[in-house]
Amino acid sequence: MSDALSAGALSEPAADPSKGSLRILQLYPRDMNIYGDYGNVLVLKQRLAWRGYGAEILEHNVGDSFPSDVDLVVGGGGQDSGQVVIQDDLQSVAPTLRGLAEDGTPMLVICGMYQLFGTVFRTYDGIDIPGINVLDLETRGGSERLIGNVVATSTEFGEVHGYENHSGQTFLGDGVSPLGTVLKGAGNNTEDQYEGARYRNVVASYLHGSLLPKNPAVADFLLRTAAKRKFGSFDDDGLDDSLAELARKHAAERPR
């Protein structure tokens, strides 16, 4: 093997979920799941299991009633057609999502859902699609698709690695801060150097790949926040992330 791996890197022991369980809500997995977004949920679930916590994975799809007692929210990217399908339902649950975000519920929203969490999406043809106003940012449809590997640097999470594929260009307002600054790739738009957005405990990003497997610091921020809110503490045993480290290192060396 060309890179040294510890024995623990290749497998983690399964633990008994005796420390309690987190309720993780996936937003619209049926219509917004295009870029391996399931990976984010799997990573949250397994990192809880390895530490002795359980995870209850909930789904909210169009027409469902919104579940109660949600500890963590995950939303993914969709095709333009998927975004149209969920539009009305999303507007109807918008007050609930705003309430959860204001209250400090940790959330991860990627790509299409990131755009919809903003104030407005102005399409390339000049039509305004309202967002749900969780995040102070707006997106404008672009003529160019921004595609490729991205490395961003964040004061909170260190280097963030992922892959972008979007034509909407997002511009941050004063009410949010960027998730990071791009070192490689475009990020939010072709004008400033920002990637993603941060507000309270919401992490928003264009990056899939999936995002969380190669960025365990982001995964653990979401889990720690949710666990502390629910249980008052988080048993934050360090997991062996050497495999993720190597995946990050090799990804960073690949072409854009």
Binding site: R30, N33, G36, H208, G209, L246, H250
Partner: protein
Amino acid sequence: MNPLPVLLGKIVRIASRLRGGGSALPGLVVERLDPGFMGRALSALPHGVVVVSGTNGKTTTTKMVVELLEGQGLSVFTNRTGSNFTRGVAAALLGEVDWRGRLVADVAVLELDEAHAVHFVKLVPPKYSLLLNVLRDQLDRFGEIDATTRLLERIATATTGTVVLNREDPRVAGIASSLTQARAVYFGLDESLRSTFPNDDELRGAEGTAPAAALPADVVLSAVEGDSAEFDIDGLRVSTGLRLRGVYNIFNAAAALAAARAVLGGAADIDRLLRSLAAVEPAFGRGESILVDGRPLELVLVKNPSGFRLGLKSFDPAGHATMIAINDNYADGRDMSWLWDVDFDSLGAAGVDMVSGARAYDMALRLKYDAVRIGGVEPDITAALKAFITGSAGQPRRIFCTYTAMLAVRRELSKIAKVEVVS
């Protein structure tokens, strides 16, 4: 007509073959010098042109259609080397035409990449097209799967005779409504097999978007049992043994039968079609088996989530040593997200002995989150293959690999076993 561009193209073709170079350059030369060359050569064929496109299974399906038609006595021109871009077709033509640019064949069956097919049909409107599926693949090239659907729609609307559509893929079946000049016929699956072949919406979205099962299909795959299959052809139940491996290939056999029937019309001899089908060998890297140390080694090409899922479902890991090699070159797709749309639980019991390729660590990380045991990780394919073969002495072996990883694996294997090397 000026024969010079054809002659020049032929010379470049011979020269680049001698150099051991790629197949596209001679196509480029003749395209530049004589843009009408391909259209003239192909439009004179008595049975016209059949275009095969879609995300998964183009190469094997094209091979099947060719062999089915040859079995009925037709002389068939095809782009055999898997060069499925317009230029590759032009290059393959140069090898077959006479010096005046004439092609002696009854029909052309061409595998075309979705994006290049759109360009091709503008130059040469096909008489038939066979559209297999639209699955998430190469989103870094096409952006969205709905965009891929629109590419296939443009192939269908340019088709003059018959468009053969997958009834079970809602995006493909829906193309029928856009047809103005061609008629649509379908191939499909029996109800009992539908859950084995998830369409793209069913990958993660719980219940399936049920297709219009009421659409009458010309050929239906009704049962698969080991290496034999049953089809309903025009209402008649028939069965045959198959050398093809993998359920996805067997579904594509239904596609190939429907396409062959479209071309042959009433002249098709069903018994002979089935005999031809039974004799089709897998295309390279599509479940073919190579002998290494007297034990079989199977190569399974994986390039998108549904292909990988079907590959895992088709080949039982028990008793096999397994290696996975994932590259992220342009032809593989740079985005690794797709690995997270595949479940690897089925490998949990047997584990994976070696993980390799430029994105070996992305793959290993994926397996770790499905709690699959990993024997070793080695990004370098040459070193990984050596360690894998040494470590699995006496066992049958299987390697799942992306396109360019497969080319690298074949080059290495050719040093120790009899393997067709494709560049």
